[in-house]
C-alpha cells in the first residue's frame, strides 16, 4: 500500500511534467480548494500523509516542535448536510518523533505518554459546525487514558481525485490547544509550557 503511494506520486509527477512541457498554463494539481469537488461518503485517514505537530515553549528561550504520524480512522461527510459530518482518528504513540532521539525516548516513557501502557490516543467528534470552508469540530480527545472535550478550528485545504488509483481525496487542517497537565503529562511545567498548540494536517481517501 505504501509502496503504491510512493510510485503513484512519481508517476503523477511525470504525467504533470509532460503536460507542463507542452501547456502554456501551470499544470493543475490533483487537489484544489474547490468545495464543489467534495463528494459525500466515508473516507479513511491517509496514514502516510496525516500528521499532528505539537509546539512547546522551552524555558522561555525557544519554541520546540514535534510530530505524530501513523494515524488511522474515518471521516463521514455529506456536502449537502455539512453539519452532520463526523470524524474519528486514532494515533499510535509509537509514532512520536522529534529532532532529538533522547527526547523521543523520554516522551514515550512514563513521565509523558507512557506508550507501553497507553499505546494510542484518539479523537472522536461530537459536533461539527461548518461556515464556508471552515468548521468548528467539537469532540472528545483521549490521551494517556484521560478523556476530555476539545474543540478544533478546521479549514478545508483541498479535494479531488488521486491520479493512478482514481480515488477521491480530501484534506483539512485543524488547530487547537490543550493543557498537557489535563492529560497527566505535566512533567516540567511551567519551565516547558503546559499549553500545547496542536496542528493537524489531515488527508483522507474515499473507501
Amino acid at each position: 500500500m505504501r509502496a503504491l503511494r510512493v510510485c503513484r506520486v512519481v508517476a503523477a509527477s511525470f504525467t504533470l511534467s509532460g503536460a507542463a512541457a507542452t501547456a502554456q498554463a501551470p499544470p493543475a494539481l490533483p487537489g484544489t480548494m474547490d468545495v464543489a469537488r467534495v463528494t459525500g461518503g466515508t473516507y479513511a485517514v491517509d496514514s502516510g500523509h496525516t500528521q499532528i505537530v505539537f509546539t512547546v515553549n522551552h524555558l522561555g528561550f525557544n519554541s520546540y516542535w514535534g510530530m505524530f504520524g501513523g494515524a488511522t480512522g474515518t471521516l463521514t461527510l455529506d456536502p449537502a448536510k455539512p453539519g452532520t459530518a463526523s470524524v474519528e482518528i486514532t494515533v499510535p504513540m509509537s509514532g512520536i518523533t522529534t529532532t532529538s532521539p533522547e527526547l523521543n525516548a523520554h516522551l514515550a516513557g512514563a513521565d509523558f505518554f507512557d506508550a507501553a501502557k497507553f499505546p494510542a490516543a484518539s479523537f472522536k467528534s461530537t459536533a461539527v459546525k461548518v461556515s464556508g470552508t471552515s468548521a468548528t469540530i467539537t469532540g472528545n480527545l483521549t490521551l494517556k487514558g484521560v478523556t476530555r472535550p476539545v474543540t478544533f478550528d478546521a479549514k478545508f485545504t483541498g479535494a479531488g481525485k488521486v491520479p493512478m488509483i482514481e480515488t477521491q481525496a480530501i484534506g483539512f487542517e485543524a488547530t487547537t490547544s490543550i493543557r498537557r497537565s489535563d492529560f497527566g503529562m505535566g512533567y516540567g511545567v511551567p519551565m516547558v509550557s503546559d499549553v500545547v498548540p496542536l496542528r493537524i494536517t489531515a488527508a483522507f481517501e474515499k473507501k
Partner: protein, 202 residues
Amino acid sequence: MRRAFIALSLTLAAAPALVMAQMPGQANPKLITAGTYEVDPAHTQVTWQVNHMGFSMLQGQFGASGGSITIDPAKPAASKVEVTFAMDKLSVTSEQFANHLKGKDFFDVATFPTAKFVSTSVKPGANNTATIMGNLTIKDITKPVTLQARLVGAGANPMNKQMNFGFHATGKVKRSDFGAGMAAPVVSDDVDLVINAAFVKK
C-alpha cells in the same frame, strides 16, 4: 522597589503572564551578553512544509548538529551565525518516506551527510526582529536564503548554568534549487521553513 512593582502588576495580570515572567528566558534583547554562543543541538531544529498534491500540507524536520552565533546586542547588524545539520538524522512520520528522502532521489545523505547555513548579513528590525540573509548549502549546492527572525527569549538557563537565548525564524526555498525537486510540482517545489534556534554561551 521596582521588582516589587513588577511583581504586583504581574499578579494583577492574567495567570499565563505571571508564569511567563518567571521563565528563565525573557523577550528582552538587552539580556543577551555579547560573545560567541554554541548552537544547542537538542533544541535547534528546522521544520519544513510542502503542499502535497493540492490536498493537504506535509511536514518533516531536521535537527541541528552544531554551529555558533557571534552576537553583540550593541551592534546587532554585525552578528554572524552558522548552523550545520546532520542530514541522515532527518525526522518524518513515515519510515518509508524517511528512507526515500535519504536516498538518491532526494537528499542522498550517504554522499552529502551535512547541510549548512552561514549568514552573510543581519538587518535588525522593530519588535526584536531581524532579517538574516545567508547561504544555505544542501547536496554541495549553495544558494542564498533570507530568514525573518524574532527573538523568543534570553537569560540565564538554570539547567546548563549559562546564558541562553533563542529565536524563531521563517523562510522559503525551492527544493529543486538544491537538486531535491523530485515529484514537483505535484508535491510543491516551494518549501516553507520554520526554524527554532537555541544558543548557549561558550
